[in-house]
Amino acid sequence: MSNSDRRQRPGSKESHRCSWGPYISAITNRTTNLFIRGGMLFSVGVFLALVLNLLQVQRNVTLFPPDVISSIFSSAWWVPPCCGTASVIGLLYPCIDSRLGEPHKFKREWSSVMRCVAVFVGINHASAKVDFANNVQLSLTLAALSIGLWWTFDRSRSGFGLGVSISLLATLATQLLVYNGVFQYTSPDFLYIRSWLPCIFFAGVITMGNIGRQLALYEHSFLQQKTHQD
């Protein structure tokens, strides 16, 4: 059962409301652009959810291939769409940037974004593969890695704040889901779950924000070019 899949869920609604706001009076072109961005982020989220889910189930991987497809979809059907929806959080970041009026200027390149995604997958990989002595060590390491991720690729205060709040909310939501019996973790250790989940959430939020910002930057420059041409 994968845990990292359920990140960022609470942020989805919020992001919709917020990113709609400034654009509501804008031209339709901008709206379609927003939809395109949202769609791309959604697919990225679903894809990452599936892949990271596989990372989680890798431990007891079977030798015989026929069940690969089922193992990809081993989690509940609603998990990837949830992650996809949640990853629309990438819309939230550029929106907040424009609200705050401090455009994010740090490393706005696709190569940097790719690096960020790779590090995020790496963090997941490490949490799934590496044997830690105890949970405290695991969560401390993951926390350090997540902070390092933020510092390397984001370095914005708004990004940090958003990441922390969303990861806390997401953890709370997953806990609520667990209490209500929607799903349960394979490991009975409650503390285990609670300690490392927020870090993964945080890293995911940062990554998604990075992608979203880059997409928004593209749209921004594209629109600007267009107005220049006009």
């Binding site: 015989f64 200027k105 190569s111 990989h125 390491t141």
Partner: protein, 1347 residues
């Protein structure tokens, strides 16, 4: 070439306000700036690093600088502060920067040794990797003896010896194989092919019975197979279709009998055994371990279970999987089986058991995340390397970057291994993360930094400068990354620690490789780029030569192959790369000998040969068949080759009936005894006595000893995986096989036949068809191979045609050579570039040139005599001559020839050049003065063919009557009647000339101009003025200011008259004389003309261009047939309207007027500079700060404003705010000229000193002492190339260092007057006046660097 980017504007600078020049510099600015991404990429540190750029350069640029300031000054003018005032950080920074600079020089100087050294060190560091096991999931073996075998302990013991570390604990299972070889012997002619395997396979059931029931009894008790074997509980749930075949529970015992559920009855009643076996084969692509392999235990083709078995020996195994090892039980089983079925000639060794360890399996589920990480990695590399720009070979550099990272990782693993660390992590998994952590950023930063150094520097210096620019940030980043990774080391998680260790070592080795390997590669690349530029330029140059029309040659006094003594060529870096024919020579050699073509051809032939040889049905098989046929161990059945088949196929079919009709008679060797003769057709009866009947021989060879080796390495894992047992990271022990030989007699075989076996299709038919099929396959494969070869050749040929220039791809060798011979080049097809600069002299003016104006295409000059000439700036062609005004009437009164004669008698020796017919601007040869366009012009419109155009609008002022080549009109004066009459009479003679439209007026032009003295010229032949009697004194006005825009010449005269001339036609388009105060300066921007007058007033004119409504429009020019010019067509009516006159712009004469970027800047004797807006002529600022009259002003598109005054001061102003940015005193006299570049300000003064100032700090960098009288002439060709005029020569300087690059002498005699004016055109040509001549100097190597 470079995309126009929005950010490009910011940095551009302009040395001269001419529009074309601005465009040129614009290009330059974009080169420097690259793209905005770069700028953002480098960020703030760019600013800082710029300053440190020069610090390591210890070139003494100017002794004066040191002596004046008395303190050590850096080349960029920064003073070196004393070390105590420097912080430690700055010191460190300087040191790092200097070290990087030196290192860059080193790398760029010795590229090959450094690359060799780096490769050697990479290989050395990777050497320990050889000892590491190769990554992969292949099994590892370990062999032990059977006799002293004990189950290894769980815990690895201390003295492992050569035991592998996985060899501990009991194996998953012991594999005991019983290898059965069975044959029907002797073979009988009555037997059918099915008999080959039916009865041998049938024996498996009795054997199985025997094995299952074997019981060993000794002192320790009774043991049966049930107790020892591996009990399986159930098949893997996904294996429904295997259920009927594989044992579902009980002992894991696999044999061919499983096909029939181990029941003899099923086997006996099976009508078609082969179909049963085939039924379970997977369709389509199957993995290596098929069910047939699993059950038979030997690879399918060795089983012999087929209709076409020539050996007639059937081989299969019974595989027993044991969970416990019991030596005595196994021995008794072995003995029992050997006893039952003795193998006579079996010598298999049975004293070794092999332990096979299997690596971790990578399932698809695990593969997907791995693949994802690799995809992300590749995306990262792609997006990173995509940013490499402005280099010769993008892909080459990207490859170098990737190689740098990868080999640094390999080095890191190698080094770690060397120092005793054995990697435990899965290399394939952590590899992408390592790459991402190490990153390609530094490489990109280096590339950007080097590429953005000045293009015209030497490669070595560029590399060094680029390195030192980024040194600080690289070191900082590296330190940060090391810190972060070291923190990771304290997580105390072994895996993370190991990762961090790898990353740290990888980072360090990556740094090493970046510094040595990548930098060197980059230097090579950049050097290649310059070479490529050279190559690109070559055809252009070759094409340039024939384009110059021959008549032009006559005008140049020094012909193009100039005697070199006039030119001192200093081989300087900027020009040196012009002669590098050696490498080109290699290329041309390759091209000439068509080496590539031939290599491709040879390669194709070799490839086809290999194809034929290795083809499964090709020659190798044929050879093998030949050999095996002759060898005694050859095939038994059908090894006789029918000689009529030239290429023998493989005879798989063993049926002898059709094949063996003819014995290979030419075969010298006799057939061995055991040649299969079991089945003798009637045709072979004759051979019967020689071949005694013998059954199929069962032989045991070394292959059989470990037959499982021939199986796929996934054989055992897949067998166990069916029962959900993983062998990953575990091992199994394979016991020595038990050989079983079974001979069956034919009767047994016949007894076991199924009724349907005999109804099997007659054996001859499949045989023949198989044979036929083999043939077909062979030919098919051969045809396909041939077709593929032909296709490949065609493809390569097409590629070759596409890639290579057509002219020698098409033509034959001789033809191509002949054609090349026509071109002015050597036999390599390489025309050496002219490395020395040969100036082009433009002659025609009779007196010293006073004004010079250019818009890049055209060049207008005005001499003291008042004559204006328009030249083609590219070719040096004289296009138009506009003579001195006022004389037109005198011509009209006296006639041209008469005038000429009069002039001839009076002209001095100095003017003889113009009279010289060879100069082509005079008399009979005057045609050549005319542009070619003129001749092609159709005749005048019919309206004007027979009457002159009397257009009063053109000529309201009679003094400025344009007498020039406008053939008919301007014969208007006060006396209209007489003039008209004269015009008519004038109209007649031109018909005798070849070009009547032009001839009538042009003869005068040259004549007249020599005769027309300038007002200010007292020494000239002004005495001739008296000869022109009809001229009023007010008409004698000289041109004081000249501007050229499009094809309009704006001339400001001393009489205060502003004239607009058509530069191509030489016709006066418009004039304005609202004021009588002489025009001292002119500025011409788009459609506005600003004129500064002697009385201090400033007049703004608007040039209106009206398209004519009709030909009858008043003032429409008479000649509508001239080809249109880019800006103004000749039909347009041009009006020059005074829009505003600022009467008291200055209360003293305006000395300088410059306009750019919508601003007009005037400098006056009253010590002030005023800035006006061009649109509304509104005065924006009055800039005060000079203590003397303003003598020089510079403004460009970026609104850089500099002014110099008589006090020797130079002020830099901010045009937007009107504030003074800096104020320096530089000259002991007037500042005569001012030019700014991006980084510096260049000024010259009356003291003949050229000073170069740092623009941002206002500190003098260095100065150049000029010759007397030439101080004012200077120009900036590119950001780093300065040209100054001297006595009869021009000199090129490297602006960055103050080096003299080259001096070009303008005249052969080398004497000469000083160059007083110098104009830089945008095609990297320089025009300078040189007494009465103009000199056009091309700087060839500058252009190629820029585009």
């Amino acid at each position: 070439m470079f995309p126009s980017l929005p950010g490009g504007q910011a940095k551009q600078s302009c040395t001269l306000p001419e529009p074309r020049r601005e465009h040129y510099v614009n290009c330059n600015a974009q080169v420097r700036l690259k793209n905005p991404c770069t700028a953002a990429f480098r960020g703030r540190k760019q600013v800082a690093s710029r300053e440190t750029t020069w610090s390591p350069i210890s070139r003494s640029l100017d002794a004066l600088r040191r002596s004046v300031l008395g303190r050590p000054v850096l080349p960029n003018g920064r003073e070196l502060t004393t070390p105590t005032r420097m912080t430690l950080r700055e010191q460190l920074r300087k040191k790092i920067s200097a070290a990087f600079y030196r290192h860059g020089l080193l790398c760029a100087s010795y590229p090959v040794p450094i690359i060799l050294f780096t490769s050697a060190s990479i290989l050395t560091c990777c050497y320990p990797l050889l000892r590491l096991p190769l990554p992969g999931t292949g099994p590892v073996e370990f062999t032990t003896g059977v006799r002293d075998y004990n189950v290894p302990f769980h815990e690895p013991q201390g003295d492992l010896g050569e035991r592998p570390d996985w060899y501990h604990g009991p194996p998953v299972a012991y594999i005991q194989q019983v290898l059965v070889k069975a044959a029907v012997s002797p073979w009988d002619s009555s037997l059918v092919p099915v008999d080959v395997f039916r009865s041998p396979l049938g024996k498996v059931f009795s054997l199985l019975e025997e094995i299952r029931n074997h019981v060993h009894t000794d002192s320790s008790g009774i043991r049966s197979l049930e107790a020892l074997c591996l009990q399986v509980t159930g098949l893997f749930p996904g294996l429904r279709r295997m259920q009927s075949v594989l044992p579902e529970h009980g002992c894991l015992l696999v044999s061919p009998g499983n096909y029939w559920q181990n029941q003899r009855e099923l086997f006996d009643s099976d009508p078609d055994l082969l179909r049963t076996i085939q039924k379970h084969e997977p369709k389509g692509l199957h993995t290596s371990a098929t069910l047939r392999d699993l059950l038979f235990g030997v690879p399918g083709k060795f089983t012999g279970v087929s209709h076409y078995n020539r050996k007639r020996v059937v081989t299969y195994t019974i595989t027993v999987v044991l969970s416990h090892y019991d030596a005595s039980f196994l021995n008794s089983l072995r003995n029992r089986l050997k006893q039952l079925h003795p193998s006579a000639n079996c010598s298999l060794r049975d004293d070794h058991m092999v332990h096979v360890h299997f690596k971790e399996e990578i399932g698809i589920a695990e593969l997907i995340p791995l693949v994802t990480t690799y995809i992300i990695l590749f995306a990262y590399i792609y997006f990173s390397t995509r940013k490499i720009d402005m280099v010769k070979s993008k892909w080459g550099l990207a490859l170098a970057a990737v190689v740098t990272v990868l080999s640094s990782l390999l080095m890191s693993v190698g080094l770690c291994t060397l120092f005793g660390l054995t990697p435990t992590l899965n290399g394939g998994e952590i590899f992408p993360y390592l790459v991402v952590v190490i990153g390609l950023e530094n490489v990109l930063v280096l590339t950007k930094s080097v590429v953005s150094t000045p293009v015209d520097l030497e490669v070595k210096l560029r590399i060094a400068q680029g390195l030192s620019n980024e040194s600080w940030s690289i070191m900082k980043n590296m330190a940060t990354e090391l810190c972060i990774i070291l923190i990771g080391y304290f997580t105390l998680v072994p895996a993370i620690q190991e990762f961090c260790l790898f990353a740290v070592v990888g980072l360090v080795s990556d740094f090493f490789l970046q510094m040595f390997f990548f930098t060197t590669v980059l230097s090579i690349d950049i050097r290649r780029m310059e070479l490529a530029d050279l190559n690109r330029r070559l055809p252009a140059e070759a094409g340039l030569l024939p384009q110059k029309p021959v008549p032009l040659r006559t005008r140049e006094v020094p012909p193009p192959p100039r005697p070199s003594p006039h030119t001192i060529t200093l081989q300087t870096p900027a020009f040196r790369n012009l002669r590098l024919p050696k490498r080109l020579r290699v290329v041309y050699f390759l091209a000439r000998t068509r080496l590539a073509q031939r290599i491709i051809m040879v390669g194709t032939v070799i490839w086809i040969g290999i194809l034929v040889y290795t083809d499964p049905a090709g020659i190798r098989t044929y050879l093998a068949a030949q050999v095996s046929e002759q060898s005694p161990l050859g095939d038994h059945g059908g090894g006789v080759l029918p000689p009529h088949l030239p290429v023998a196929p493989v005879f798989r079919g063993g049926d002898p009936t059709s094949t063996l009709s003819i014995h290979p008679a030419p075969d010298p060797t006799t057939l061995p005894e055991n040649q299969s003769q079991g089945h003798l057709g009637p045709a072979r009866a004759g051979r019967l006595p020689h071949a005694p009947p013998a059954g199929p021989q069962i032989t045991w060879g070394a292959d059989d000893e470990e037959g499982w080796r021939r199986l796929s390495f996934r054989h055992w894992p897949s067998l166990f995986s069916y029962y959900n047992i993983t062998l990953a990271k575990k091992y199994i022990s394979i016991l020595p096989v038990i050989p079983v030989t079974i001979h069956l007699n034919p009767q047994e075989a016949i007894d076991m036949r199924h009724p349907q076996d005999t109804r099997h299709p007659p054996p001859s038919i499949p045989k023949v068809s198989a044979d036929f099929q083999t043939d077909l396959t062979l030919y098919k494969v051969a045809a396909l191979g041939l077709a593929a070869g032909v296709l490949l050749v065609l493809l390569l040929f097409c590629l070759y045609r596409v890639l290579c220039p057509r002219n020698y791809g098409q033509n034959g060798v001789a033809h191509g050579r002949r054609r090349r011979g026509d071109l002015p080049c050597d036999d390599y097809g390489y025309s050496p570039p002219v490395s020395e600069i040969s100036p082009l002299l433009l002659r025609g003016h009779s007196m010293d040139i006073e004004c010079l104006a250019s818009d890049g295409m055209l060049l207008a000059s005005c001499c003291l005599a008042g004559q204006i000439r328009v030249w083609d700036a590219q070719t040096g062609d004289c296009l138009t001559v506009i003579p001195k005004p006022g004389l037109g009437r005198s011509i009209s009164s006296s006639g041209c020839w008469e005038q000429r004669d009069a002039w001839d008698s009076l002209s001095g020796a100095a003017e003889s050049e113009c009279a010289d017919p060879s100069n082509g601007c005079d008399g009979a040869l005057e045609d050549e003065c005319y542009p070619l366009r003129r001749r092609s012009a159709p005749s005048r419109p019919p309206l004007f063919t027979n009457q002159p155009d009397l257009t009063p609008l053109i000529d309201t002022n009679f003094a400025s009557l344009p007498p020039s080549n406008v053939s008919t009109p301007p014969r208007v004066g006060f006396d209209f009647g007489g003039l008209v009459e004269r015009a008519y009479t004038e109209h007649e003679p031109p018909s005798t000339y070849p070009s009547p439209s032009s001839a009538s007026s042009s003869p005068h032009s040259c004549t007249l101009l020599q005769r027309s003295p300038s007002l200010g010229d007292s020494t000239g032949p002004s005495t001739q003025d008296s000869a022109v009697g009809t001229q009023g004194s007010g008409d004698v006005s000289s041109v004081w200011a000249l501007e050229l825009r499009g094809n309009l010449i704006a001339a400001g005269r001393s009489s205060g008259k502003l004239e607009l001339w058509d530069a191509v036609e030489g016709s006066l388009r418009c004039s304005n004389e609202d004021s009588v105060s002489g025009i001292t300066a002119l500025a011409f921007l788009s459609n506005r003309i600003v004129a500064a007058r002697l009385n201090g007033s400033l007049d703004f004119f608007n040039v209106e261009i009206n398209k004519p409504l009709g030909l009858l429009h008043r003032g429409a020019p008479c000649r509508g047939s001239v080809p249109p010019s880019p800006c103004y067509s000749s039909e347009d009516v041009i009006n020059c309207q005074l829009t505003r006159s600022v009467q008291c712009a200055h209360h003293k004469p305006i000395t300088v007027l410059r306009a750019a970027a919508g601003r007009v800047v005037t400098g006056s004797q009253d010590h002030t500079v005023r800035v006006y807006r061009l649109e509304d002529s509104c005065c924006l600022f009055t800039l005060q700060g000079h203590s003397g009259g303003i003598t020089a002003i510079y403004i460009d598109q970026t609104m850089v404003l500099a002014s110099g005054g008589q006090d020797g001061a130079i002020c830099l102003w901010d045009v937007l705010t009107g504030s003074r940015v800096s104020h320096v005193y530089g000259h002991r006299g007037d500042v005569t000229s001012l030019v700014c570049t991006n980084s510096c300000v260049i000024s010259s003064g009356l003291d003949d000193l050229i000073c170069i100032w740092d623009r941002s700090t206002g500190i003098k960098l260095y100065s150049i002492q000029q010759e007397v009288g030439c101080g004012a002439s200077l120009g900036v060709i590119s950001e780093s190339l300065l040209v100054t005029g001297g006595q009869g020569c021009v000199s090129f300087w490297d602006l960055n260092f103050g080096d003299l690059l080259q001096t070009v002498y303008l005249s052969p005699s080398g004497d000469g007057q000083g160059v007083r004016q110098l104009l830089v055109l945008d095609n990297a040509a320089i025009v300078c006046d040189f007494g009465s001549e103009l000199s056009l100097v091309y700087v060839p190597s500058v252009l190629e660097k820029l585009d």
